[in-house]
Symmetry: C2
Subunit: 407 residues, 2 copies
C-alpha cells in the first residue's frame, strides 16, 4: 500500500505555496507561485531518486528507469500543479503527488517493472491565465505547436514563454520526447456524482468536449441620467442578455450542454456611464460533439439577433476547443478489477472537467480514476476529499500500474 500520511502531507505542503496576501491559493501557470510549487515537486523527485526532465513547454517528468528497461516506453502517470484563482489543494496536485507516491511505494517494495514509470506535471492545465487549458499535455501530444503555445498572451498581458524562462522552467527536451506506453491519471471528481451515489471510485471512460469563447460586445458610452432608454446601445445589457440566454437554454433541456460565463468586464466601468464595452467568456461542454456544435451555432444566431435588436457590435473569438474523448477500455476494466479486488465500489463515468488525460489519449492508451469530491465542490477553497478516499484512489492506481508494468 501507498504511504497515506506522506501523500496527505505533500498535498498540504504544496497547497501552502502560491497563496496571495489574502491567503487565497492562486498558483497560476508561469507565476512566482508556480515556480515555488515546481521547485518543491522537483526536490521530491530528486529525493526519490528519479531522473528529472523538463521539456520546452515546461512539463516536468520524474522517471524511474530500472536497469534493463531503458529501451522501453514508459508507463506515465500524472496531472498538473497549476491552479485556478482561489483554488482548493486537490485539483491536479492529487494526481501528481499520488503518481510519485505510487512509484516510491513500488520502489520500496522492490517491485521490478518491465518498463520505466514516469510521473508528469503538465504545464498550464487550468487555462485561467493562458488559454487553451490542458496546454502542456496538448503540446506534448503534438496537438498544438510548441512555439505557438509559448507565444500565448495571458489575461495579464504576460507571454507564457517569457514567464517560463523567468521562473526557470523553459526546459530543453522536445515535447513528446518520451512516448508513453500508456497514461493513467488519478483525479478528484470535482462534481457531485460519486458522493451522491455513495460510490468510492470512478472508472472514467470518456470526457466531455469543451468550447471556450471570448465575446466582445461594443455599444456606446453615454450619460446614465440623460440618455433615453430607447437611445441606448448598452454593452452591459448585451452581456446580461447573453448570460440569461445561456442559462434559460440549459434549463430547458434535461441533458443540457453545460454553459458558464466565468469572466465579465465592463468599460469604462463607471457608475453613471452606460457601458461602451463588455468582454465575457463562455465555456460550453457536452459529451456529444454534434450537440456542442449545435449549441455553439445557436449561440451565434442569438448573438446576431441581439446585435441587431440592441444596436451592438458583437464579435467572438475561439479561445479553446477540444472534442469529446473516449478512454481505453482495457485500462478502464483494469481499474474496475483493481477496485473490486480491494472491495471498493466503483462506477463508470464521464468526466465533466477537462484533464491532461484527454490530450494524451490520442498518442497512448489512456484512462482516469476519480475519487469523490465532498459536496461536489471544486475550483473553490472548500474543495475536499477525505484521506480514506485519497488513499483508496492511490492504491487502485498502484494496482493498475503494477498490472501494466508486469505485462
Amino acid at each position: 500500500s501507498v504511504d497515506g500520511d506522506r501523500l496527505l502531507m505533500r498535498l498540504k505542503e504544496l497547497g501552502n505555496i502560491g497563496r496571495d496576501a489574502g491567503g487565497r491559493l492562486v498558483r497560476l501557470a508561469g507565476s512566482d507561485g508556480d515556480k515555488l510549487g515546481r521547485d518543491l515537486f522537483v526536490c521530491w523527485l530528486s529525493q526519490a531518486g528519479l531522473d528529472v526532465a523538463v521539456d520546452r513547454i515546461g512539463n516536468i517528468f520524474g522517471i524511474w528507469r530500472p536497469a534493463g528497461t531503458e529501451d522501453c516506453q514508459p508507463l506515465m502517470l500524472g496531472s498538473h500543479i497549476d491552479t485556478v484563482i482561489n483554488a482548493g489543494i486537490y485539483d491536479g496536485c492529487y494526481g501528481v503527488v499520488a503518481g510519485l507516491e505510487v512509484i516510491q511505494a513500488l520502489k520500496a517494495a522492490n517491485f521490478r517493472p518491465i518498463r520505466p514509470i514516469a510521473v508528469a506535471a503538465f504545464t498550464n492545465e487550468e487555462g485561467v491565465r493562458f488559454a487553451p487549458d490542458m496546454m502542456g499535455s496538448l503540446v506534448y501530444a503534438r496537438g498544438l505547436d510548441v512555439d505557438a503555445a509559448l507565444s500565448t498572451v495571458g489575461t495579464d498581458g504576460a507571454i507564457l514563454g517569457e514567464e517560463l524562462k523567468r521562473i526557470g522552467y523553459a526546459g530543453a527536451e522536445a515535447p513528446g520526447f518520451l512516448k508513453p506506453f500508456a497514461y493513467v491519471e488519478l483525479h478528484i471528481e470535482q462534481g457531485p456524482v460519486l458522493e451522491r451515489e455513495g460510490i468510492a471510485l470512478g472508472a472514467v471512460e470518456n470526457l466531455q468536449g469543451i468550447s471556450w469563447q471570448r465575446i466582445t460586445v461594443e455599444g456606446t458610452a453615454n450619460h446614465a441620467g440623460t440618455t433615453p432608454i430607447n437611445m441606448r446601445a448598452d454593452a452591459g445589457y448585451g452581456a446580461a442578455r447573453i448570460i440569461a440566454y445561456l442559462r434559460e437554454r440549459a434549463r430547458s433541456s434535461a441533458t443540457p450542454t453545460v454553459a458558464t460565463v466565468g469572466c465579465l468586464e465592463l468599460e469604462p466601468n463607471a457608475i453613471n456611464v452606460i457601458p461602451s464595452r463588455a468582454t465575457l467568456t463562455v465555456d460550453l461542454r457536452d459529451p456529444f460533439e454534434h450537440r456542442l456544435k449545435e449549441e455553439s451555432g445557436a449561440l451565434g444566431a442569438f448573438l446576431e439577433m441581439l446585435a441587431r435588436e440592441e444596436q451592438l457590435l458583437i464579435s467572438v473569438e475561439q479561445l479553446a476547443q477540444s472534442s469529446p474523448v473516449a478512454f481505453n477500455r482495457e485500462i478502464v476494466q483494469m481499474i474496475e478489477g483493481a477496485a473490486e479486488k480491494r472491495g471498493l465500489t466503483c462506477r463508470r463515468m464521464t468526466s465533466g472537467a477537462g484533464h491532461d488525460a484527454q490530450m494524451i489519449a490520442p498518442i497512448a492508451p489512456t484512462a482516469m480514476i476519480f475519487v469523490p469530491s465532498c459536496g461536489g465542490i471544486s475550483h473553490n477553497p472548500a474543495e475536499y476529499t477525505s484521506k480514506a478516499d485519497l488513499v483508496a484512489g492511490a492504491n487502485v492506481l498502484m494496482d493498475v500500474v503494477r498490472h501494466i508494468s508486469s505485462q
Copy 2:
C-alpha cells in the same frame, strides 16, 4: 460679449490634462490629473486678478471683489473640473471656464457690479471614484458633514481627504464660508433634447432625483464543467437577471424611471469557475420622488425573489441619494429673457444629469443654462458642442450675471 477664442482655447488646454497612457481623459477627483487641472485653473484665476480661496473639501473659488462690495453676498457661477473615465472635455469644465470668462469680460468692459462675483470649481462632482456625486457642492451647502466626506473610500481604496492633502488642495476655509446671493450654472445638456428640437438654449427649471446603490450578489464558486445547472448558485447569473429586470421594467413604461448598471465585477473572474460574487451598481433617476421610491422598492422585491429562487445572498448599499430639485423661477425667467434679447431660441427643461446647482439650490436662488450636446453624447470622448453654441451660452450667462449684479 465674451472672448470665444479664449473660452475654446482654455477648454482644450484643460482637456489635455489628466489623460492616461491610452490618451483617455480620466481626471478623477483627487488624482494627479485633477491636481494638474486645478493648478491650471488657479493660475488662470490669479492672472485674472481674482482672489483665490480653497475650502476643506477642496472646492476652489476665484472671487472678484470690486471696492465697496466687500460686505455683500457674492453672485456665484461655476461647476466642476473632475471627469469620468474616458470623458469628453466639456462636461463641468465649460461652466467653470465660462464663469471665469464672464468675470473677465465684465472686468474688461469696466462693468461695476453691486456685489462680488465668484466662480467655483466644486470637488468630485462626477462621483466615479468617490460616492456620492456632487460631493463638493453638497458639503458646501452643509448637506453632508465635511469630515464624513473627507473619509470617503474610493473605488481604488484611496481616501478622499488624504488624496486632497497629497495633491495640495485640502484648503483652510470652512465649506460654505461664502454664502451665495444666487448661483447660476452653465452646462452642456449631455442629452439629445435641444439638438433634436433645434433649440439653442435650455432654461433648466428642475432636475431629477438620483439613487445610487451597490448590489453584492454572493453565490458559490464551483467547476464550470462538472457542476449540474440545477446545483449552481451563480452570482454572475444573478447580476445578469438584475440588469435584464431593470431594462425590461424601464421599457414597459412610456415615462420610465431611468436605470443604468455602469459597474459590474465578478469574482474570481476565471473562465472555468462559476462566479462566487458579483458586485454591480444601479443608478436610478426620476423627476418624481414617489416614483423613485416605488422603483427602488420594486427592485428590492425583485432582489428578494431572485435570492430565493437562485440560492443567492444579495445585499444592497445606498451610495448616494438626492431628491428632485426645482430651480428658482425668477432666474429661469431671466435666462429666457436674455436668450430672447439675443435672438436665441430657448425652452424650459428638466436636467437628466445631476449638477452642483442642485446642491446649492437649498441655500441660494439657483438655476441652470444648457447648451446642445451633439448627438446627445456625453461621458464619452465624442462629447461635442459647437463653438457658436458654447459662446451663445456664455453670453446669456453674462447677461444674467449683469442683471443679477445690477439689482
